[in-house]
């Protein structure tokens, strides 16, 4: 069992929310009891009006935890205030958890591996209408098998425990970890200016020749590296791509000041750019296939070999947004 403890909290049936707190027990007990600071790992489950749904999420989370299914890249929670449930005293005491030691994905993965190997003791407690929640949990025990099947399908990478906003934040963090060149990096590489090296990239962005994405932590733009050739120069085809984005209602520079929409668009898979492109003889528009299950590539991957295909995809999206059903 080790010292690991897992506590699930429920609050207010009818407007249920839950937090899952894994106390790694190295938790500084003195700090925890003084309600100042502990150490551990937390997953937050968004509130829902459905107790059944919430408990379903909790059950899936537990199953998934034991199966070691979590992927570290989603697990980014810092300075989140949680209520820690004390199973013995039946008291709720707020503690503020800082997860600095888990900030690196590698460290999170290590902690999770450790938790799984310890076969953590799970203490599930409820607060509120306990009888009703327990009844629902009993009802859900029968659904664990189907939850397991869902896991096998790979459909449970985060089991809905994180919100869309959490996932977006994690995705941005993943992009930022790629160490794309900052404005200053580009200036030092391509400009003779020593007084304001970041200005060169800022000017290129303003001329729609370079795409930047705002890094709010470092207070600078970073620049996806597909835009540079092997000598670090800006690929001239980027200007045409950015100008194509200008025709899109959401992807123009004015509508995407931070650049992240375009980064998401460029670095996500589009089935239309995949192998089934040759389906044009079957009548697909522009040789683009749109089957969900087809294997696609990202626009960035495609851009490197065929920039025009990516520009056509932008244009196609603009047209598709006019579709009506």
């Amino acid at each position: 069992m080790g010292d690991t403890q897992l506590t699930v909290l429920h609050a207010k049936p009818g407007a249920v929310s839950a937090s899952l707190f894994i106390d790694t027990t190295t938790v500084n007990q003195a700090a925890a009891s003084s309600k100042e600071e502990g150490e551990g790992f937390a997953l937050y489950m968004p509130g829902t009006s459905s107790p059944l749904l919430m408990i379903d999420r909790v059950v899936k989370a537990l199953n998934s935890l034991v199966a070691g299914k979590y992927r570290h890249r989603y697990l980014r929670l810092q300075n989140r205030s949680l209520l820690k449930f004390s199973p013995k005293a039946l008291q709720l005491s707020p503690i503020n958890i800082t997860l600095d030691s888990l900030d690196s994905p590698r460290r999170v993965a290590e902690v999770f591996r450790s938790l799984v190997s310890k076969q953590s003791e799970c203490i599930v407690q409820t607060w509120g209408e306990v009888d009703e929640l327990e009844r629902l949990m009993a009802q859900l025990r029968g659904s664990n098998e189907s939850a397991g099947r869902a896991q096998e399908r790979g459909a449970d990478t985060d089991l809905g425990l994180l919100t869309a906003a959490d996932r977006t934040r994690a995705k941005v963090d993943e992009f930022l970890s790629r160490k794309w060149p900052t404005s200053a990096d580009i200036g030092q590489r391509l400009s003779n200016s020593t007084t304001n090296p970041g200005q060169y990239a800022a000017d290129a962005r303003a001329r729609r020749q370079l795409l930047g994405a705002w890094d709010s932590k470092r207070r600078t733009f970073v620049h996806p590296d597909f835009q540079f050739d092997e000598f670090g120069r800006i690929d001239p085809r980027v200007e045409k791509l950015i100008n194509a984005f200008e025709t899109h209602p959401d992807l123009s520079q004015d509508r995407d000041k931070g650049g992240w929409r375009r980064v998401f668009w460029l670095y996500s898979t589009r089935p239309e750019l995949g192998e089934e492109q040759k389906m044009s003889k079957d009548g697909d528009r522009d040789g683009i296939d749109t089957t969900l299950s087809s294997t696609g590539v990202s626009p960035v991957e495609k851009f490197l070999v065929d920039a025009e295909a990516v520009i056509r995809l932008v244009q196609r999206d603009v047209e598709r947004l006019k579709d009506d059903w």
Binding site: G160, A164, P249, G258, R270, L292, D324
Partner: protein, 242 residues
């Protein structure tokens, strides 16, 4: 109709839709103007441009042959068939779509109040009027796959005219979803469809921030999840940022 390129064997016979099923429809939040969600969700779209639409052939300004009513039996299928048709995906099955795709769009859950039928274009029902691997069968297969909807509009019109000549209105078509291969999509025509044939159950505003969690639940059976829009707040630079 018999002997035509699309139905060489016989006139297709509509087949009843499942009366017990839920049907999900993505539709405009602006049409009809000022109407309740219940009315919006059960009013056909006179300007639809989707697969097999009969709404967009009249360029002369005359009323369309029919208003369109696209539905699916799951919310996930309804979303992928419509607003998620420009979506991109990552390896973790996160779905990203830009905000305009969801703007002014609602999704509604409906149930049939009375029996209704549609011609089944999925296999094996299609074999009853288009023998397998016949030119008609291959043409239907192509029409069900193509994203050049103009061709499908012509085919729907051809079928519509043929049935009218036989004094039988074309009630609708069912076909394998192009976006969710395990599901069936439906296009129903109004007329003969009428508003009172539907019971409206619930409507969600797809562009509302609060709906993102619901969309997650809609996509969950297919194993997908939404990403939020990465704009505003910390995602946007301050003025003059370098």
């Amino acid at each position: 109709m018999t002997g035509s390129r699309l139905c060489p064997s016989c006139i297709p016979t509509p087949w009843p839709l499942n009366n017990d099923s839920e049907y999900w429809r993505v539709h405009s939040s602006e049409f009809p103007p000022g109407a309740t969600d219940a009315v919006k969700s059960t009013t056909g779209n006179p300007k639809a441009t989707g697969r097999f639409s009969l709404s967009c052939l009249n360029t002369s300004g005359s009323p369309p042959a029919a208003k369109m009513f696209y539905v699916a039996q799951s919310a996930g299928c309804a979303l992928f068939e419509t607003v998620l048709n420009t979506a991109s995906f990552d390896g973790q099955r996160n779905v990203y779509v830009t905000p305009s795709a969801l703007k002014n769009r609602l999704i509604s859950r409906l149930k049939l109040a009375e029996p209704y039928s549609a011609i089944q274009l999925e296999e094996p029902a299609r074999r009853m009027f288009a023998p397998i691997n016949s030119p008609a069968d291959l043409e239907w297969a192509r029409l069900l796959r193509t994203d050049d909807y103009v061709e499908t509009h012509k085919a729907a019109s051809e079928l519509h005219s043929a049935l009218l000549a036989d004094a039988k209105p074309l009630p609708g078509l069912s076909y394998p979803s192009r976006r969710v291969s395990s599901e069936i999509a439906y296009v129903l025509y109004e007329p003969p469809l009428e508003q009172h044939l539907w019971n409206h159950e619930q409507t969600w505003d797809l562009s509302a921030r609060s709906t993102v969690a619901d969309i997650d639940e809609f996509l969950q059976p297919l194993g997908f999840k939404m990403l939020a829009d990465p704009t505003g707040g910390a995602y946007d630079p301050p003025l003059g940022a370098i």
